[in-house]
Subunit: 404 residues, 2 copies
């Protein structure tokens, strides 16, 4: 996005507060039984009253038709063009496990697999139980030794794990070892581009690591090898402090969102487990930060499970606690999602997300409810999510004039 | 903007007329007393009738959240991406004084200041009266001599002035001499980038000029030095003739807007002082041009003064003269602003500007009034202002098909 270039030069400091409340996967689709989206079916008196005095619209995380993952969805909300700043899958996996990936470190996704006669016979090792996964990760962490390389294997669910590599001048420009189908041997990891000496050295270290893992797991009955993919280093992203002059804080209960917030330089607050804990954290920390990213996960989980009514109830839970946020009287309060997760589709989707921006400096177009259909007619229109951050900053009086 | 590349190849000639009526700072915000924007409160029977047979929308001068100055606001209306074509502050100051800055010339903004014991003690020289400013400019223009450099100092208000430099192969890639706080000596002007020989030579000339100014002003009681900043040369902008095949004319009463129009190759017509004079100019010159940029300044001034009701009255003044423009029967008539200036904020703002496009080749979505809220629901939607020019050309039958 071209405006990226000018934003840092326009930033102004003041004492205003901005709250960005993200209900993960908020947007939905009409449910066949009642013809209403989750947001339309939910009883949300507080959000509806707020919508009536807010500017509303719809935001596209990336662009029409593009279904985003959590990474691009959140980057866009934080004002970083998700087509410009990509967060590798390895990094996201590691963040999702609460692991920190520092500059210079490289992360990758791991599958435990089964190899027989030199070829992969099961890319998921029969979906080993998570406990077995954890034991095998422990074994690798303890027994595998590679000169000039240190590492951490951390279990996810079933056959999935994350790997973080540390060494001098490591490169993430590496190909996968996963052959992506059975009947083939695991591939040696190679530099993505020929002649990249740094990646060549890194590939040698990774291949030595993989060989050592093969030896350590050789006699294991369930999974005797690992496949690695999605090597990615810590992305180079300017912090929200540098870019917007904000002292930003994240209030989230899930590791991945804390990790994403940390990547853009937010301070991650100790937020407890429930949304009520999050709101209490917001109240407690109100004086210490300018910008609060408040993340609510359960709308997305319910959508992914195809559980329409649970998603409705989740939205109602947030609505019931909204008055406590309003009592803090932020200059700018935004309620939106990082993407849509319609229960009907049981997955993330490409539909633009409803957006409500409460500020005394916008025109209120008089929507009497907060919903996808009302937002589609809202005064803010339908626009790329990456523009939301400048809009919040402007409403908070934190963005000066461009040009004379 | 990517379409820039294709527009010149699509231009068609015909005898159609386009009128772009810009009410500076037109967009507003609801006033607390009545909940209406300036445009909503104004009695505008002619604009409302026109809106009912126009296509309406909202335009973002730059992008959501970005508050533009007059330069970017107008460039976008003329179809030039304001993030691509930047007009330096020095140039805009000079244009605002009615000075012409030709190719090869360099302009800068000037403050008269007070220096004691080698350091700046007042960056504004106690805001000297404009008459003193004018005298000092005259003194400098008369007495200061620098080999290979000629120049013009022109007074603005109080301590502010503009400087235009002329010499062989001058560069504008120069740093400011303004130290931006008191207690420091004025800075020597330097090249912005090391090793830029052309800028080095220009910096030497400017520093010689500044030294000579210091000598001439040494005994002045009120201001004994100047600080310069915002060096900028004539921007390289293709003319509206080259780009769109238009014979374009500007009808404006304020120097800055005449200057902006001249930068994009418009002929600046003698437009008198009032809006009535402007409309008479339009009538008189109707046969001589294809495109008329009609600029009305007073809406912006009233907004900047926070004078809601004066802004309302200004809008009504324009409305009352609209029938005379309509009588000329242009193929395309656009009424909009270069940005919003809500009286509530007493300044330019980021809010998109109401737009009305009267043409027999658009769908009329049946808005029954011209206002921010009606335009937000208009058939043209909310879009970047830079797309307005192609839209006007298309409606005038002046833009051919792209691709086969």
């Amino acid at each position: 996005m071209k405006t990226d270039r000018i934003i840092p030069g326009l930033k102004l400091g003041n004492s205003s507060k901005i709250v960005l409340l993200v209900m993960d996967g908020l947007g939905g689709l009409p449910w066949p039984e009642n013809g209403l989206t989750e947001l339309e079916a939910a009883s949300t008196p507080n959000l509806d009253r707020l919508a009536a005095r807010s500017a509303c619209g719809l935001i596209h995380p990336v662009s029409p038709g593009i279904t985003p993952g959590s990474g691009p969805g959140h980057l866009a909300l934080f004002g970083y063009d998700p087509l410009e700043y990509e967060i590798g899958r390895g990094i996201l996996s590691a963040l999702g496990l609460g692991l920190e990936v520092g500059p210079g470190e490289v992360a990758a996704r791991v599958n435990f697999c089964t190899v027989e006669g030199g070829v992969v016979t099961d890319r998921r090792a029969g979906r080993i139980p998570t406990e077995v996964n954890a034991e095998l990760c422990g074994l690798i962490n303890e027994k595998v030794k590679v000169p000039d390389l240190s590492f951490t294997m951390a279990p996810e669910k079933e056959h999935r794990a994350a790997l973080i590599l540390r060494g001098e001048d490591l490169s993430d420009a590496l190909t996968d070892s996963d052959p992506e189908r059975t009947g083939l041997p695991p591939l040696p990891v190679s530099p993505r581009e020929e002649g990249d000496r740094r990646a060549e050295r890194s590939a040698e270290l990774v291949n030595a690591f993989l060989a050592a893992v093969g030896e350590v797991l050789a006699e294991q009955p369930k999974a005797n090898m690992i496949l690695v993919r999605g090597f990615s280093g810590h992305p180079s992203i300017p912090s929200m402090g540098e870019r917007y002059g904000l002292k930003a804080a994240a209030i989230a209960t899930y590791p991945m969102y804390k990790g994403l917030a940390r990547l853009v330089g937010m301070e991650v607050l100790d937020a407890g487990d429930s949304f009520q804990d999050e709101v209490e954290t917001l109240e407690r920390e109100w004086g210490n930060h300018d910008f609060f990213f408040l993340h609510y996960k359960k709308t997305d989980s319910a959508g992914e499970d195809g559980d329409y009514w649970r998603k409705v109830a989740c939205i109602e839970e947030v609505d019931s606690l909204l008055p406590r946020i309003l009592t803090l009287d932020p200059e700018v309060l935004v309620v939106t999602g990082d993407h849509s997760t319609p229960a009907l589709l049981r997955s993330h989707s490409w539909h633009p997300c409803p957006l409500l921006l409460a500020s005394s400096r916008e025109i209120h177009s008089g929507e009497d409810a907060f919903s996808e259909r009302q937002c589609a007619r809202g005064g803010l229109g339908i626009f790329p999510a990456v523009h939301l951050m400048p809009l919040m900053l402007a409403n908070a009086g934190r963005l000066g004039k461009f040009g004379a």
